[in-house]
């Protein structure tokens, strides 16, 4: 019995009479469930004092999706496959570069640096460009075939090239904060491009990247909202 069911029981909401009786019986017959429920009650009783920050619409949507998914799982008793914890740092940088080289595609700067056209002349225009890049990258990663390593590699290499253009643009526009974030994505992307990683490892790297992209999108949206007084949204997943 999970915590969400106990929370619904606490609020006397969302459970049928049979379900409520089942929870009640579990609390009375199972000491572990009773202890968890006691702990939940203590926390939930103090909820009125919790001052939560505003939550972006896309994040609320993700919560909804997660809750719906759990509901489906509970109904269908579907067993989720375990995903192994993965440390991205177990991959040596050099080995990752070499892995990319093996497929015969150079990731490195060939010849002179590409000329980067700065969007308009303002930082805000550049920031909007970065937001588009982050959204595009998020979408590409979300639809990326994790199992098909060759397709994954091709797609990620394209993302790396695009990311590099924005890295240079950020450096040229003195957007140091964004330049650092963009540079930080690259080692993760290079690891994700390697063909010798398992689907679980690829999924873990993708999860890390999509989280970081989403955080940056939310932050950029917040910053532009603060500047203009208008609300903007990040990614709707």
């Amino acid at each position: 019995m999970n915590d969400d069911t106990l929370i619904l029981y606490y609020y006397n909401d969302g459970l049928s009479e049979d379900e409520r009786r089942h929870v009640e019986a579990a609390i009375h017959s199972d000491a572990a469930v009773a202890a968890r429920y006691d702990g939940l009650c203590r926390q939930l009783n103090g909820l009125a004092d919790v001052d939560t920050p505003p939550v972006p619409a896309h994040t609320v949507q993700r919560w909804h999706d997660a809750i719906d998914r759990e509901a489906r799982l509970e109904r269908g008793h579907v067993q989720q496959p375990r995903q192994r914890a993965f440390s991205g740092f177990s991959f040596a940088w050099g080995a990752a570069i070499a892995a990319v080289l093996v497929i015969g595609i150079s990731l490195t700067m060939t010849g002179p640096d590409p000329v980067v056209e700065m969007p308009a002349t303002t930082t805000s225009a550049f920031t909007r460009g970065v937001q588009v890049h982050f959204r595009d990258t998020y979408g590409q990663l979300a639809s990326m075939p994790i199992e098909a390593s060759a397709d994954r590699t091709q797609l990620v290499l394209q993302i790396i090239e695009q990311n590099r253009l924005f890295e240079r643009a950020a450096e040229q526009s003195d957007s140091d904060d964004l330049a650092r974030v963009l540079r930080a994505f690259e080692p993760i992307l290079v690891r994700l491009a390697a063909e010798d990683i398992t689907p679980q490892e690829a999924a873990a790297l993708r999860a890390q990247l999509t989280f970081e992209l989403n955080v940056m999108l939310t932050k950029l949206s917040r910053d532009s909202s603060n500047e203009t007084g208008t609300a903007t949204t990040g990614i709707k997943t």
């Binding site: 909401d13 919560w63 809750i67 940088w93 010849g111 999860a207």
Partner: protein
């Protein structure tokens, strides 16, 4: 209040508490509770930094999985407050190895001068993984001088080559050339030049190839040309050579590079004019 909104608020509230009922077992990445916690962390960045900071700190203090804590570290890197940067440094110094390396990466992303200064000590005292993480953090922060200092003071070939490789990634050609004044062009330096790329580097790699004293250096120069994608240079070397074995190697390199010039060479070879 609807069922759904109660669940959302309750889950968020539970996430930010450090209560003892946080589950201790390693969670699946698709565990709905884990997904909710990570989504809640995403949302925190929309809050003012002063309000988000204590909540992120609580996530780090609570009995959460490393995956959740790693996500919290990223959020922390985006909070431009001294406490956030200090906490990153604390985790880097004392966290478990996985979290420690991630905290180091986040210090690079944050770019805070004081926190960056702390990386030097971490590098000295850290194991190989942590040292690699520090080099990567310097790369993220664009701190060429710090990486160059590591290369200059390296106490082993492995340490030197790891640093020069990172200099190559950072495009620090001047520093790589300066290092070659002391040590000559080692294989690692040559490869790093290839990673840095550019016309000047290509010319240098061609010179190194032509004047190589050993096969290893010649191979490293060819690999550098491969990495930098200088197919025209490889073709030039092919045409200069009278050695069949060498020509075969150069042709193979053009093939690996996926160069259109290879067809030109094949045409010449088949016509007997190689």
């Amino acid at each position: 209040m609807t069922t759904r909104s109660r669940l959302i608020i309750a889950t968020f509230a539970l996430l930010i508490t450090s209560a003892g009922f946080a589950q201790s077992e390693v969670r699946d990445a698709e565990d709905p509770n884990e997904v909710l916690k990570i989504a809640a962390l995403e949302a925190l960045i929309s809050a003012p930094p002063e309000r988000a900071l204590p909540l992120v700190m609580k996530v780090l203090d609570a009995n959460n999985t490393n995956e959740v804590k790693e996500r919290a570290l990223f959020v922390l890197s985006q909070i431009n407050l001294p406490e956030a940067q200090n906490r990153l440094l604390d985790v880097a110094r004392t966290g478990d190895p996985e979290l420690s390396a991630e905290a180091v990466r986040m210090i690079g992303i944050g770019g805070n001068k004081e926190a960056m200064a702390g990386l030097a000590d971490l590098y000295k005292s850290g194991d190989e993984d942590l040292r690699e993480a520090v080099l990567e953090a310097y790369m993220i922060a664009g701190d060429v001088a710090a990486v160059n200092a590591i290369a200059t003071n390296a106490s082993s070939v492995e340490e030197f080559e790891a640093a020069v490789e990172m200099l190559g990634v950072m495009g620090a050609i001047d520093e790589l050339r300066a290092l070659s004044q002391d040590s000559g062009y080692t294989e690692g330096l040559i490869q790093a030049l290839g990673i840095a790329g550019g016309d000047d580097v290509n010319a240098t790699l061609m010179d190194i190839y032509r004047n190589a004293d050993t096969d290893d250096i010649r191979e490293a120069a060819l690999e550098g040309l491969l990495i930098s994608g200088h197919d025209e240079g490889v073709l030039e070397l092919y045409r200069e050579s009278d050695d069949i074995e060498e020509k075969r190697d150069l042709l193979e390199t053009l093939g690996i590079m996926g160069s259109d010039l290879m067809m030109e060479v094949i045409d010449e070879a088949l016509a007997g004019g190689a």
